[in-house]
């Protein structure tokens, strides 16, 4: 440690550090981690947004527990909100109204809690897309992908349980639908629903049960999982985007102390502050307007929060099918869209890292991220999933859309049913094409450099466009494209002529792999690169005297003067045509 400028405060800090170190060996940890390097990219802040909004959720949630009462004992409302005066309501709803109207700062905290919960879920979703589309889930980060998926599910659970606590009309309607879904589970559904609700719906237990889950169980799991998640990020070090000097063996960025600390720490305050400001001025979930829950009322046109909306859409699009087998009823119209479908999708998402590794045969460690275009199949699958989600989500609002556009609901449903199958497939094909054409452009750029827009006429009379070599940063980016090849065909027999027992499954895997990964734009070979560089140099040679002359004459870069015949160009036949742009 350097001895310059140590203040008294720092001396105290140092002796505190020593005190702790002598007990827990902390300085050793600090010496290895205080300057840990973190790469910088805006998309790496998405996970941070999730983390910080979760902290805000926790803080505001603790405040709310001081006032909220998880009880459905009936009371007569006698607060300042006139329209509900004298109405019989549950204590839960009563306390939520008191938080909104009587506790100073209560409404602010309620709104901070709801807004930050929304931020949390949105940030997780977008963070997940970032991880997916850049291939950050590949070895060695597959396990963290699973932790992340579990976090995403927990976030939904937290959102749903919280939504039900105020016991207003909206939250009760949501619970009623949940009861219908539980009842539709074959064999155990009826009993399960009685266990969940403590008997028939709505009963008197569900609010207090959800309360325990919402404030203890789910946040506890989330805290534990975030800890594991971040420890893994820490140990594995963050991935980085391709760039000059960045490899799978290093990490380029800023040290934790001071830059990353200040940026990430500051960012927490920015997010917290932003949420608070929004909560101050934008109303969210005005429970007093919806009124208390009673099981025979519903307000038409109410929508669930966006992350549940797609399941609502699935419920609407599913045709009405119910089977009776041996006298027992299976409500496929409810069970498939709300249990089977999400179950399959979540499972597919969780095991995706292994699926991809299996289909590509990729067993390497990856720390440099893929550009989405360079993994066309993965990118296309991701866009396909998003399209599927969006169609279902639109389905969740089909009545609003039908009314808005004056369409019949019947038409909307059939349209969306077809769209649900066709649009994701189209999205897959189109995305893959776009990726491949971007790859083609990259290859051109890498081979022939950047197009400058300046046109030269060669002595032969031929016109060429002058290219400039790409700069080192861009070159590193372009060169980062991995060479993906589909799995090879397995050998039918081994060298001794013995039949390969895995031949059949191997062929099937290779077939799938070929279907998924055969399309790619080859990276330029060394020879091609060399050739390309020479071409760029040759163009430069042609152009050099012109540029010199131009510089000497201080010709304005409007292009017009360049049309004059060259005065002192060595090859007098070389001429420029107006390219209309400068050579910056």
């Amino acid at each position: 440690m350097s001895t310059e400028q140590i203040s008294g405060f720092e001396k105290k800090g140092a002796s505190a550090a020593t005190y702790v170190d002598e007990r827990v060996h902390s300085n050793s940890w600090l010496s290895r981690n205080l300057n840990k390097v973190f790469p910088d990219h805006w998309s790496f802040m998405l996970g941070e947004i999730a983390l910080y909004s979760f902290v805000v959720v926790l803080l505001s949630g603790v405040y709310l527990t001081l006032f909220y009462k998880p009880s459905v004992v009936e009371v007569i409302y006698d607060g300042p909100y006139i329209p509900l005066k004298g109405v019989t309501i549950s204590e839960a709803y009563d306390s939520a109204l008191a938080i909104s109207f009587e506790v100073r700062g209560g409404l602010l905290m309620r709104q901070i809690h709801h807004w930050s919960a929304l931020f949390f879920v949105v940030a997780i979703a977008v963070h997940m897309f970032r991880v997916f589309f850049t291939g950050a889930f590949r070895k060695p980060r597959e396990l963290n992908w699973v932790v992340g998926m579990t976090l995403a599910l927990m976030a939904l659970a937290a959102g749903f349980t919280g939504y039900s606590l105020p016991d207003d009309l909206l939250s009760g309607t949501g619970l009623r639908i949940i009861e219908g879904i539980i009842l539709a589970i074959p064999v155990i559904g009826t009993w399960l629903s009685f266990f969940v609700f403590g008997g028939e719906f709505p009963g008197v237990d569900i609010i207090s049960r959800l309360y325990g889950i919402h404030i203890l169980l789910v946040p506890g799991i989330i805290v534990a999982l975030i800890t594991v998640h971040l420890m893994m990020v820490w140990t594995q070090k963050h991935t980085q985007f391709p760039g000059p000097g960045r490899t799978d063996k290093n990490v380029v960025g800023y040290p934790l102390m001071p830059v990353y600390m200040a940026k990430a720490g500051g960012f927490f305050f920015l997010i917290f502050g932003l949420i608070t400001i929004i909560a101050g001025i934008v109303q969210i979930n005005p429970i007093w307007i919806f009124g208390p829950y009673t099981p025979d009322q519903v307000s038409a046109g109410t929508q669930p929060d966006w992350y549940i909306g797609w399941l609502d859409g699935a419920l609407r699009l599913m045709p009405s099918v119910e089977w009776i087998i041996f006298g027992y009823t299976i409500s496929l119209n409810v069970f498939i869209p709300t249990v089977v479908l999400p179950g399959l999708l979540v499972t597919a998402a969780i095991i995706y890292p292994w699926l991809e590794a299996w289909a590509t045969g990729d067993k390497k460690e990856h720390h440099v991220l893929d550009r989405p275009r360079n993994a066309p199949t993965r990118t296309a699958l991701g866009v396909m999933a998003i399209t599927f989600y969006v169609v279902l989500w639109i389905g969740g609002g089909n009545d609003i859309i039908a009314v808005g556009f004056d369409l019949s609901i019947n038409f909307m449903i059939w349209f969306l049913r077809f769209a649900l199958i066709i649009l994701p497939a189209l999205a897959f094909i189109i995305t893959k094409r776009i990726c491949l054409s971007l790859q083609r452009r990259d290859r051109e750029k890498l081979l022939h450099g950047r197009e400058t827009g300046r046109i030269l006429r060669l002595p032969t009379g031929e016109f060429i466009e002058v290219h400039e070599p790409v700069n080192s940063e861009e070159k590193a980016l372009l060169e980062s494209k991995p060479d993906t090849k589909p799995l090879p065909e397995p050998p039918e027999t081994d060298s001794a002529g013995v039949r390969n027992p895995k031949y059949k499954s191997g062929r099937r895997a290779a077939g799938l792999s070929r279907f998924l990964y055969r399309d790619t734009i080859e990276k330029p070979t060394e020879a091609e690169m060399h050739h390309g560089e020479q071409a760029v140099e040759a163009e430069d040679e042609f152009e050099a005297p012109l540029l010199e002359r131009e510089e000497a004459m201080h010709i304005a870069h409007d292009g017009s003067v360049l049309a004059k015949p060259a005065v002192d160009a060595p090859e007098s036949a070389t001429d420029t045509e107006d390219g209309g742009s400068d050579q910056s």
């Binding site: 290895r32 981690n33 205080l34 300057n35 004992v73 109207f101 100073r104 602010l108 709104q111 309607t173 009623r176 009861e179 219908g180 879904i181 009842l183 539709a184 074959p186 559904g189 009826t190 009685f194 609700f197 028939e200 008197v204 140990t235 760039g243 000097g245 799978d248 063996k249 290093n250 380029v252 040290p255 001071p258 830059v259 200040a262 940026k263 500051g266 960012f267 305050f269 920015l270 917290f272 502050g273 932003l274 949420i275 608070t276 400001i277 909560a279 101050g280 001025i281 099981p295 025979d296 038409a300 419920l315 609407r316 009405s320 009823t329 409500s331 119209n333 460690e365 009545d399 609901i409």
Partner: protein, 362 residues
């Protein structure tokens, strides 16, 4: 967490590709081999001084916001309302507190980020990475330790211990799971959930009353084309008695009136009239997943569920004509009593609400 220590020797140098060298201090990573952009604050002392001022100002403003927050908390009455442009009216206290508190927090963040961007080092540095895989030696050592431990434990030697322990471990969660049984404390008069779900509190002779004022309903008070939301007459008593809303969640009904000749069919097995003079009564709880149904089109006699748009034709036994619901809406047989009020003939012959596993069992 095995990051190597950057214990650079004093004076240690790294070469850069442009031929220059840089001396590293202990604890400093080598700079990345990319162009280093100098900022205004690196070259211009005035710009630097300005940035310093800006950062300090933000921190100071944050403190001022805290003071303003306290002022707002004390001074603004709870019921004052302000109107925010483009957003609408909202509690004045709420927005004043939100803005001052929010800015107090935000400005700390803004100051810190500005400080980092303008004044802290902006040199990107390189740290090495190592494969996640442990070295051969480490793995071997771990395996050796495992072997020693295994032997010392006698785990392999006495299979009977191993097996009984695994069996015991497999069984030990059972008491906890069994204890969950009383998540539903089964009343003595209830055999199974499915029987409970089939019953509502409707019984023969029970009057229908409106769901808000609880007045009995006279048959001739309902106009043709009209719809009345109704509940059983004893609902409030039952609710008070049971201290829950379960009875309401199953017994709520709608009563509609159409011209008798418009009725194509009813749910009675033998064509008997379950209504009265064109007045029919149906469950209000959707057979899809249980939303209360509210929308009725008198011209077409279609009943539409607001949740997922299942549509039922009330003139035709309330069969599903559209949407995801599968079962028709159960009909409640009604008649009028001596005083002309609508009463139930019996409980619902078919179970109300969403389908469940045992619903079609007798």
């Amino acid at each position: 967490m095995s990051d190597e220590i950057t214990g650079n020797e004093p004076g240690q140098e790294v070469a850069r590709s442009d031929g220059s060298t840089k001396e590293l201090r202990p604890g400093e990573w080598p700079p990345a081999d990319v162009e280093h952009h100098l900022r205004r604050t690196d070259t211009d002392p005035k710009a630097q001084a300005r940035a310093v001022r800006q950062v300090a100002t933000m921190f100071m403003l944050s403190a001022i916001m805290v003071v303003l927050f306290i002022v707002a908390f004390i001074a603004i009455p709870r019921d004052a309302v302000v109107s925010i442009p483009f957003i609408g009216p909202i509690s004045a206290l709420n927005s004043a507190m939100g803005l001052t508190f929010g800015l107090a927090i935000f400005l700390i963040g803004a100051g810190a980020v500005h400080w980092a961007k303008k004044l802290m080092s902006n040199v990107e540095v390189v740290q090495e990475r190592h494969p996640m895989k442990s070295t051969e030696d480490e793995t071997e050592l771990a395996a050796d330790i495992y072997e020693v431990g295994k032997e010392q434990s006698t785990w392999a030697k006495f299979p009977i211990i191993r097996r009984t322990m695994l069996a015991a471990m497999a069984l030990v969660p059972i008491p906890f799971i069994v204890s969950l049984r009383d998540l539903w404390i089964q009343p003595a008069d209830v055999e199974t959930p499915s029987l409970e779900l089939r019953r509502t509190i409707w019984e023969p002779g029970m009057r229908l009353v409106t769901d808000i004022t609880y007045q009995p309903i006279k048959a001739d008070e309902i106009p043709t084309g009209g719809l009345v939301n109704a509940v059983p007459e004893n609902l409030l008593e039952v609710q008070e008695d049971e201290e829950n809303l379960n009875a309401r969640a199953k017994a709520a009904v709608i009563v509609v009136r159409m011209l008798p000749e418009e009725i194509q069919s009813q749910q009675s097995p033998d064509g008997e009239d379950w209504g009265y003079n064109g007045i029919l009564c149906f469950s209000k709880i959707c057979t899809h997943v249980g939303c209360p149904i509210a929308l009725y089109q008198q011209r077409t006699h279609l009943l539409l569920c607001p949740c997922h748009q299942s549509t039922f034709d009330l003139s035709d036994s309330a069969e599903v004509v559209f949407g995801p619901a599968y079962r028709r809406m159960p009909q409640l047989p009604i008649e009028v009593d001596d005083e002309g009020y609508l009463v139930a003939v019996s409980d619902f012959p078919e179970p109300v609400g969403p389908s469940f596993w045992e619903i079609s069992r007798p």
